[in-house]
Amino acid sequence: MHVGNGGRSRRLGVGFIGAGSVARTVHLPVLAKLDDLFEVRHVMDVLPEAAQTVASRVGARATLSQDELLADSTVDVVAICSPDQFHAAQVVAACRAGKKAVLCEKPFTLTSAEAAEIAAVSAETGVPILVGAMHTMDPGWLAAERLWHDLPETAHTLRSTIILPPNTRFIEFATETSRQAGMPGIDYDDPQVVAALLQMGVLGLAIHDLPLVRRFLPDFDDLTVLHAELVRPFGYEFVMRAAGRTIELTGAMHEGWKPDWTFEAIGPDAALTVRFTPSFVQGGSAVAEYACGGQRTVSGPYAANGYEDEWRLLAAIVAGAADPPPVDPRIDDIRFAVAIAMAGRDHLLGVTA
């Protein structure tokens, strides 16, 4: 998608709510590349040093006040990169502030009720909301959509594998930043702690690929978790059934260097494999491979990645060159993730009680 720049003076002003690693390592480099479309004008964080550090890099104003940022008339687009639990309220506030668009990092809510509220506010205010789900915008994934024919209807097995070294490794590949604290001591003997970690795994890691899984599910009303287990030190293993499909989710974070981020959809006669780059790395797109009858078609990698195309879409929406994506599918994504997290928790506590 290409949106004409219309001159640098016509750039959209961006305000960041939350100046942590995602803002620094993901969005700032992308916006630096898209400087014909965007300019960062205001940065808010509850930590003064964080706000000041990020703002000073891009010549923006720094603030500790969300209200001050939302009242800034030079901010056209609000990017929400705060901790997950604040997303919903901040999305609603940004919509009510009359901004031109909101980009919210995933998950944009943690409950179905919040999701419904966001949908209502978006409809009422007309402010488009884009959820930062980089894999659904990845050019490799979009190429897969063009390849897969009727596989969404015929696939019987879906697999998401996310095996990652610590995020800090890839953050350091993407930018220079101070090291983050490692994982705190975890009491693996406490079933409640283990269940909470499993939920974190779903809502923090698996959630990246759950929208992809959902593309192959007509619905998930009969979602059944057949097996759920924590993978140490942090990760998950799920075997589930929904809508006649078997779904396998594997997540594991380890101290090594080798990542594997792969999504597979397998049907009787065709199969799709999409290999993604690790998070944070601005290393181009995923690679999609469609196999059918012994023939394989490979698409990608492409130079752009999902983060970049999210921002390009946002610019196109504001310019009226693209329709805003419907919010309902994103709400269903959240419902799906929450349903898995809760069912996994129940399964685990039932097993360990």
Binding site: H156, T157, I163, L226, H227, E229, V231, R232, P233, G235, E237, V239, R241, T246, E248, T250, A252, H254, E255, G256, W257, K258, I266, G267, P268, D269, A270, A271, A291, C292, G293, G294, R296
Partner: protein, 260 residues
């Protein structure tokens, strides 16, 4: 070691195997074969037992079904070589040797085999179970989580407590293959075994803090490797394949009821 005789008409493609192992095997012609080849249909155990009784030195059973396993005679046990499509690949043995040092630090283990629609799912599962036992070592009792005509899923644990998931998935999308993974804190082991129809080698990769090693590749089909093993058994070696299969089968209570 003199070449042992084989009735090359017993199984399709056997003449080719025998011809490729001229120092180990030769065609029996009209004489009695010293090594017998049987397909792994429901009567394989009876055939193997009878063959040993009649003087056979080794028996190769190709893709055996579960039925009959209990009926293998004690005399035949150590003379039977089970020709698994995947587990018998030399790469699996190489992976098993590497895995020994990694199992204690395992965080998760996975085994997946994809087979075509004409494949017996139970045979594919037995193949995967044997490969898993070879590479992952001690495994807890496995639970069948799901089974239908598209495949099946089982879960359990390694001896150290790491979760293990095994799956058989049916698709004609691409050539059959098996993939085993043992993930450790610093890396782990990845084993990719290609279709048994090709001599393309299994790829065994071991990752650690220093990088990744691809073990030397062996361009031999599982089937040829098994007939080499059979020649060794005929020369006096003892096969542990039946005992190993019994151990693998014991990991899945109710596996007998999954037949068909």
């Amino acid at each position: 070691m003199s070449a042992f005789t084989v009735d090359t008409r017993q199984l399709p493609g056997l003449a080719e195997i025998v011809a490729s192992l001229p120092l180990s095997l030769r065609d029996a012609g009209n004489g009695p074969p010293q090594i017998i080849g049987v397909t792994g249909t429901g009567t394989w155990a009876a055939q193997a037992t009878a063959a040993v009784r009649n003087g056979a030195l080794a028996i190769v059973v190709e893709a055996p079904v579960l039925a009959g396993l209990k009926n293998v005679s004690p005399a035949a046990q150590s003379r039977v070589v089970l020709a698994w499509d995947f587990a018998a690949n030399p790469g699996v043995h190489a992976a098993a040797a590497e895995a020994e040092a990694l199992r204690g630090g395992a965080g998760i283990a996975k085994g997946a085999v994809t087979v075509g629609r004409s494949t017996d799912i139970q045979v594919a599962l037995l193949d995967l179970l044997v490969a898993a036992v070879r590479v992952f070592g001690e495994i807890s009792t496995l639970t069948v989580r799901h089974r239908d005509h598209h495949g099946l899923y089982l879960t359990g644990h390694l001896e150290g407590g790491a979760p293990l998931t095994l799956s058989v998935v049916v698709t004609n999308a691409y050539p059959f293959a098996m993939h085993l993974r043992l993930l450790t804190g610093e890396g782990g082991l990845d084993v990719h075994v290609p279709s048994p129809a090709t001599a393309a080698p299994a790829e065994v990769r071991v990752a650690d803090a220093d990088g990744e090693r691809l073990l030397p590749t062996v361009w031999v089909t599982s089937r040829r490797a098994c007939w080499q093993d059979a020649a060794a058994v005929a020369a006096g070696a003892r096969s542990g394949d039946i005992a190993e299969l019994r151990r693998a089968v014991s990991l899945v209570p109710g596996l007998w009821s999954l037949q068909g």
